[in-house]
């Protein structure tokens, strides 16, 4: 159940500078818990009171997990998870 996780620059201090790390988990919640075991402190930067932080966006295969079940979103082998800070958008 290996999932590729893209880490934003600001959080790479937790991953020894790695842009992508591999992790396992049947749900996003489990994945974040396992990530935190390998990279202590990471979960606290992503979660607050058991929810995704307001300005943290997480995408599973490019779809925003807030629309796919949030932390309970199921994961499969080969999935790609991307963590990004919320931005204002561009041209608009």
């Amino acid at each position: 159940m290996a999932v590729q996780v893209s880490i934003p620059t600001i959080l790479r201090t937790y991953t020894n500078g790695a842009k992508r790390v591999e992790a396992t988990g049947g749900t996003l919640q489990e994945l974040i818990a396992n990530l935190d075991t390998d990279h202590p402190g990471l979960a606290e930067r992503l979660l607050e009171n058991g929810e995704l932080r307001r300005f943290v966006n997480v995408y599973l295969n490019d779809e925003d997990v807030r629309f796919t079940g949030g932390l309970t979103t199921p994961l499969s082998d080969g999935d790609a998870v991307t963590v990004l800070p919320a931005v204002a958008g561009g041209r608009k």
Partner: protein, 315 residues
């Protein structure tokens, strides 16, 4: 068609089918050509509406100075209206936006205050809010929180799309201020049972996100997740590829954010086709490609174009 002035010619843009990119006669994709607006982008709609509302409620008076954080199209639309109506416009704009946008703004007489490239639009918004506090006499229309932004789409773009495509099943647009998706999304949800409202969000490279602190993110005040069915993140490589595909296969010369929306639209179309479901998918062509020529997006290989876009705000 005849209008009393350029401002009156806003909207009523064509909705055109994409016969080559649509997977089948049952699953069709339609492009709403918002580049056919007075200054060449969808942003004319919110810009005109926000100015009209501020004039009506008395906050915008003759000779006033308008302040706005913008990375381009809204500023360009405001600049044109401000020129015609005698307002002064100051735009706070990230430094990593294309030269064409700067020239267009200056051409219509706007003043540009640069904000650091690394901070992207978040930083432009922050700086504009500080400036607004320092200059209480300036009028900040604030597209990220102004109900007139979404309102222009609720009363204009949404009804136009439904009139032209009563069988619509999905609506797709780029996510920035969120005004387009909130306004059109709310209108279509009221009128079309089961309609899906899909956001395509530009995903930039590390240079743009690099210094973003996760605690200082930004979610536009207009954003209401309840209006959306889902939200996709689309990287610059996919956006570029689709922008060129639209040009090659359908002849439409669009800006890069249009490629972002088209990528999501094609993903939906493929899903519907596989599931054997009928679909009429409308997506927004937010502007033409003219303002992005200097980015090199349309020349050389896709890899070269992607490299040239690094560090630039392309939507």
């Amino acid at each position: 068609m005849r209008y009393d002035s350029l401002l009156d010619s806003l909207g009523h843009t064509p909705l055109v089918g994409l016969p080559r990119l649509s997977p089948s006669p049952e699953v069709r994709i339609w492009a709403k050509l918002e580049d056919r607006n007075p200054t060449g982008s969808i942003k004319d709609r919110p810009a005109f509406a926000m100015i009209a509302a501020a004039e009506a409620d008395g906050s915008l008076r003759p000779g006033a100075t308008i302040l706005e954080p913008t990375s381009g199209n809204t500023g360009i639309a405001l600049a044109m209206v401000a020129k015609l109506k005698g307002y002064k416009l100051i735009c706070v704009m990230p430094e990593n936006t294309s030269e064409e946008r700067r020239q267009l703004l200056r051409m219509w007489g706007a003043e540009i205050i640069g904000s650091p490239a690394a901070g992207g639009s978040n930083e432009a918004v922050r700086r504009a809010k500080l400036l607004a506090a320092e200059h209480p006499d300036w009028v900040m229309l604030y597209q990220y929180g102004n109900p007139g932004n979404a309102g222009a789409h609720y009363s204009g773009t949404g009804p136009e799309i439904l009139e032209d495509l009563p069988t619509i099943t999905h609506f797709v647009a780029g996510l920035g201020t969120t005004g387009t998706l909130m306004g059109i999304g709310r209108y279509l949800r009221e009128k079309v049972p089961g309609i899906q409202i899909v956001a395509a969000e530009p995903r930039y490279d590390d240079l743009i996100y690099g210094l973003r602190n996760l605690d200082e993110g930004f979610v536009p005040e207009l954003y209401d997740a309840e209006v959306l069915t889902t939200r996709y993140s689309v990287g610059s490589a996919e956006a570029l590829r689709r922008t060129r595909q639209l040009l090659d296969q359908e002849g439409i010369f669009a800006g890069i954010s249009t490629g972002c929306a088209l990528h999501a639209a094609l993903g939906i179309a493929t899903k519907a086709q596989k599931a054997g479901e009928r679909a009429d998918i409308a997506f927004v062509v937010a502007d033409g490609g003219w303002k992005y020529l200097s980015t090199g997006a349309y020349e050389g290989t896709l890899d070269e174009a992607e490299d040239r876009l690094e560090g630039q705000l392309w939507a």
